[in-house]
């Protein structure tokens, strides 16, 4: 997905004189060709997140559209106040691309594990929080966000994700995606966890449990009405996210739609509200917290079997 994001940046810079890219020491050779052809609008800055965010806000105040890219934890934690005060408070637009969303950098430890990025970014007014699931989706959402001149944050996954979102039905303006084969349950997720949820959803169907799968790549979407209709008749709603329990997808749903729906039993599964004590892989942490395909399958199966 990161390659798709960088390719989209390249297309944006080449097709629009407004687009500027500001990276923070992203590694040898990153976007080097684009830097060679557009040296004034493609910058590789130092390891100084506060500076690059304030600098980018200044670029935005001058009429350009900055796209800032670095590791998600540094972007969202270190420069939180700059994003809030320099961008949001001043009504400035720009795009923040956070690499290593969720537990992608599990082996590098808690300093690099973006488990709270949704909560931090969601607390900032005027900022759209995106968690795409695959390369096609991130490209489309980045281009739409640019066209709408938004202030946005994108959680970027590991890379190598296959394209799966094209097979989903688009709800509203595209911020919600939907797939259904029955009405026994509804799974709701976001980001690359959709791949785990889809695998579980398929296995559940094969076992005779038919329901719906909802993917919400824009956490602060404006499709509450449509969402309410989708889950209104479902008794069992499961929310899975690769994030701490507060401030993420579930919190958005709780604020947006759950308070209006009283008939559903809603269960929420996430990472714990603590820094990880283990390294290993993203897959290992998903499995540990039962948010991998097997965990999702067993959870849904278990609840529905007991309920039945």
């Amino acid at each position: 997905m990161r390659n798709a994001a960088l390719k989209t940046v390249e297309n944006m810079v080449k097709s629009s004189d407004r687009a500027c890219f500001i990276g923070s020491d992203l590694g040898f050779g990153t976007l080097q060709n684009l830097r060679d052809t557009h040296p004034e609008r493609v910058l590789m800055e130092g390891i100084a997140e506060q500076q690059i965010i304030g600098f980018s806000a200044g670029i935005s105040a001058s009429g350009y559209f900055p796209i800032v890219h670095t590791i998600a934890t540094f972007l969202t934690r270190r420069s939180f106040e700059q994003i809030a005060m320099d961008f949001s408070l001043q009504n400035l637009s720009g795009m923040l691309l956070g690499a290593g969303g969720g537990m992608v950098y599990a082996p590098l430890g808690p300093t690099h594990q973006a488990i709270d990025d949704f909560a931090l970014m969601s607390s900032i007014p005027n900022l759209k929080v995106y968690a795409p699931a695959d390369p096609i989706e991130i490209e489309n959402l980045m281009l739409q966000s640019f066209e709408r001149n938004e202030l946005s944050y994108f959680r970027i996954g590991r890379g190598g994700e296959p394209n799966i979102t094209a097979e989903f039905e688009i709800i509203g303006n595209g911020a919600v995606k939907y797939k259904t084969n029955g009405d026994t349950f509804t799974l709701i997720t976001t980001g690359t966890l959709l791949h785990e949820a889809l695998e579980a959803f398929t296995a559940l169907a094969e076992s005779g449990l038919k329901g719906s799968l909802i993917h919400i790549p824009l956490l602060n979407h404006e499709s509450d009405t449509e969402l309410r209709k989708l889950i209104a008749d479902t008794e069992n709603v499961f929310v899975f996210e690769e994030h701490i329990p507060i401030g993420g997808l579930f919190s958005h749903l709780a604020n947006g739609i759950f308070k209006f729906i009283h008939s559903s039993i809603t269960l929420h599964f996430s990472l714990p509200h603590q820094y990880a004590k283990n390294y290993g892989s993203q897959s290992a942490h998903r499995a540990l917290n039962n948010i991998d395909a097997v965990g999702i399958y067993n959870t849904v199966k278990g609840v529905l079997t007991n309920a039945g």
Binding site: E40, F55, G58, A61, S62, G63, M85, Q90, N91
Partner: protein
Amino acid sequence: MKSSLELRKLCLRTFKGGMRGHLPSALSLVDILFVLYSDCLKIDSKDPLSPDRDRLILSKGHGCIALYSALALFEFFPKETLDDFCEFHSPIGGHPERHSLPGIEASTGSLGHGLAFGTGIAYSSRISKLDFNVWVIVGDGELNEGSIWESAMSASHHKLSNLRVIVDSNGMQASGETSGIWDLSSLVDKWSSFGFETRVVNGHDISELRKEFCKNSVTGKPICYIAQTIKGYGFASLENNAKWHHKSSVSEEEMIEVEKSLRNA
């Protein structure tokens, strides 16, 4: 004929509008702002968003009483607006907010933000090919913030010769003398070593400020002026008086004492 004395009086008027604020932090800026708006800044109060205007960013946002008063003096908005300082519906509060009124270029208040913002605007002239300068005023206490030095490194690396930093070096911060909090001497050595063309100026000498501020960079580097100032300058009872750093309530007697202590020169 506009004068810095008139600007100083307007600062007092603004303060009295809200009966609160960081008045001494504003007063150390008065002569600097007067010279900038009267002689240096290429900005038209009737066309304050012109793309090639010079920008002034008050990074030490708590000195905003001086900024509001200067903008009113130079006719960006009516002086009567100053009387509503910090009122519920007023466009001028205890820290400036971008474009809340003509001439206010940045929302500042949390220290250490304005210089980074200014480097981005200064850099943008390289893309737009527009010719303008960006002036950023920081406090000497504000130099405690690490982000200031991140910005200094970036400005130096990009050779932002259209960036001018003014350090309002009044030697005081909220808790007392800056040297007693963190001793940052020598500022000249520090800014020079960060790649700036550094000049020391008397921040209350109008003719010296006029002469120095109008000079372009001779080295192609960004410029830093260390402006030696006195906190509360112009009102004897406020000068270097740490108790007056910020006031949220003032008695009538205190106000009379301040007004009487105005130096008329």
